[in-house]
């Protein structure tokens, strides 16, 4: 059903740009979008008018800013009307889904150059209202309605996982420790401080068993990619990165309707299709960007993507295997936890980190000889998952 047979041509990433993720009191949504887009446009050496369409991931301009129609706003502020602009929303997977929409439009032959981006401005509202906006990623009628919060949903997954597989509090903390370590090498990360397991376990409880250090922050930020057909990539860059696959799947919105609450079927489905389309197996992936909105989510991701068996992900954190010097580097930019989570932009940011790694531009956190990268972006507690596989172009 899905497969490269249906698509006409291969797609490459030919330009990237992103802002720092963090609290940008002095920048609004337009400023952030403009900053990221200009970097991408300058990198690709284009004027801008060549961009034929925009796909903008944004979870909730409406609730954070009272602003809908965000894609048109971005195109306008870049001075690039009348190019068509589409706002894409899939909660925290908005960026990944935007990437996929852009990819489809180029692969199908409809466009020869599109801008795919994501932007979120989360700090203009009180924290409690921001949390309410994020709760829209859940089933508002039958989860949030009774007082569940987004961390609460993942906390329930964590609790059951610990019950099923004997995961310890300390082992879970290792995920945050690693991501903060990676963040310390990333100038654009929201948090660049290193932390210890004790720091994690000593931080205040948010929703038992998850503590402050188990949870990603709310960040302002924007990120942008330019996509072009592979055969034209050299017009824009010497280091095209091929999008070998960009697959997406859905699952029940609510946690209570899942088959197994410790498994994200959408991730498994999307990953299966992506590996099949890219014609590779998990063993061949050199670097990963997975959706660690909470520490438990990173463990589930590694299992559902196929890198280990269900219940065994914690064992991958021994002997630094998942650090950038290890055999399976995960979230080398700090992930969502330390890198930051500007919701609509995260899926794009993940792809950008892979591009840097595959180009050899990742500085102090470089994964040597990285050739194939995989990005994994999730919406809500797992109702949407996007898996993207990138390969260094020849």
């Amino acid at each position: 059903m899905n497969g490269s047979d249906g698509l006409r041509r291969r797609v490459a990433i030919v330009g990237i740009g992103s802002t720092t993720f963090g609290e940008h009191w002095d920048k609004g949504l337009r400023d952030l979008a403009l900053e990221a887009s200009l970097k991408a446009v300058e990198e690709a050496g284009i004027k801008g008018k060549e961009i034929e369409s925009f796909y903008v991931g944004n979870m909730s301009g409406g609730m954070f800013l009272g602003q809908e129609h965000v894609a048109a706003l971005v195109a306008d502020f870049l001075g690039l009307k009348p190019a068509p602009a589409v706002r894409v929303e899939a909660a925290c997977a908005s960026g990944g889904v935007a990437l996929r929409q852009g990819y489809i439009s180029v692969a199908s032959g409809l466009y020869d150059l599109v801008a795919v981006g994501g932007v979120e401005k989360m700090t203009d509202v009180q924290g409690s209202l921001a949390a309410t906006a994020l709760a829209g990623a859940m089933d508002t009628e039958w989860e949030a309605y009774f007082g569940a919060t987004f961390p609460g949903i993942y906390a329930m997954m964590a609790h059951r996982y610990m019950h099923n597989y004997g995961l310890s509090r300390e082992a879970l903390a290792e995920v945050a420790v690693k991501n903060h370590f990676h963040g310390s090498f990333n100038p654009q990360a929201h948090f660049k401080n290193r932390i210890t397991v004790d720091d994690v376990i000593g931080s205040p409880l948010v929703a038992d068993p998850l503590r402050v250090y188990d949870c990603c922050p709310m960040s302002d930020g924007a990120a942008c990619l330019l996509l072009a057909p592979l055969e034209e990539a050299r017009k824009y860059t010497d280091t095209p990165i091929i999008v070998e696959a960009c697959s997406q799947a859905s699952d029940s919105l609510s946690l209570f309707d899942r088959g197994d609450i410790c498994t994200l079927e959408a991730t498994r489905e999307a990953a299966g299709q992506a590996f099949s389309q890219a014609k590779i197996s998990p063993r061949e992936v050199d670097v990963l960007e997975v959706h660690d909105c909470f520490t438990i989510a990173e463990l589930l991701a590694l299992e559902d993507l196929g890198f280990c068996r269900k219940g065994e992900a914690a064992s991958l954190y021994k002997e630094g295997q998942t650090y950038f010097g290890g055999r399976l580097p995960v979230n080398t930019d700090g992930g969502l936890k330390a890198g930051g989570h500007a919701v609509g932009a995260t899926g794009i940011k993940q792809a950008i980190e892979l591009v840097k790694q595959l180009r050899g531009d990742a500085g102090g956190r470089q994964v040597k000889g990285a050739e194939i990268g995989l990005a994994h972006n999730v919406g809500g507690s797992g109702a949407t998952a996007v898996v993207t596989i990138l390969r260094r172009g020849g």
């Binding site: 009774f146 919060t149 209570f256």
Partner: protein
């Protein structure tokens, strides 16, 4: 959550007040909340109403300490996935016990409580929560 009008709450009184769900007569799966189309059988399914007994056990839970808007007065409170004896999982609060008393597998039953109030001026929303089943007399 958004300050919705009263109709959106009123529409769900049957489910909130009396835990009425549905069942697909074709594949036998029970649903809460009500599903109008069976996700397994779709249009070949036959959906019929199914009242639940209200008995279940705790499948997983958490203790909310950072509350969403409207729940500030209640922290810390327990939110759980309760497995009804008829099968479906339901998200709900667990009350009438300390958070430290809750455990995976704990038998529970429904009770009728305030879910939330729309500030001091809006309507009060009532519905089901869960409490420990057949609570033993606590030792003094």
């Amino acid at each position: 959550m958004a300050m919705l009008g009263v109709a959106s709450h009123w529409r769900r009184y049957r489910e909130l007040y009396t835990l009425k769900g549905s069942r697909c007569a074709k594949c036998g799966q029970a649903f809460f909340p009500v599903r109008r189309i069976c996700p397994n059988c779709r249009r070949e399914g036959r959906i019929e109403p199914l009242p639940f007994s209200g008995r279940g056990s705790i499948y997983t839970y958490t203790v909310i300490r950072t509350p969403p808007e409207g729940f500030e007065d209640y922290i810390p409170y327990v939110v759980a996935l309760v497995q009804l004896e008829e099968g479906p999982l339901v998200t709900s609060q667990v009350v009438d016990c300390a958070p430290s008393d809750v455990f995976i597998g704990m038998p529970v039953e429904t009770c009728f409580r305030k879910i939330r109030a729309q500030n001091r001026e809006g309507i009060i929303i009532y519905g089901f929560k869960f409490r420990p089943r057949d609570s033993q007399v606590k030792q003094q």
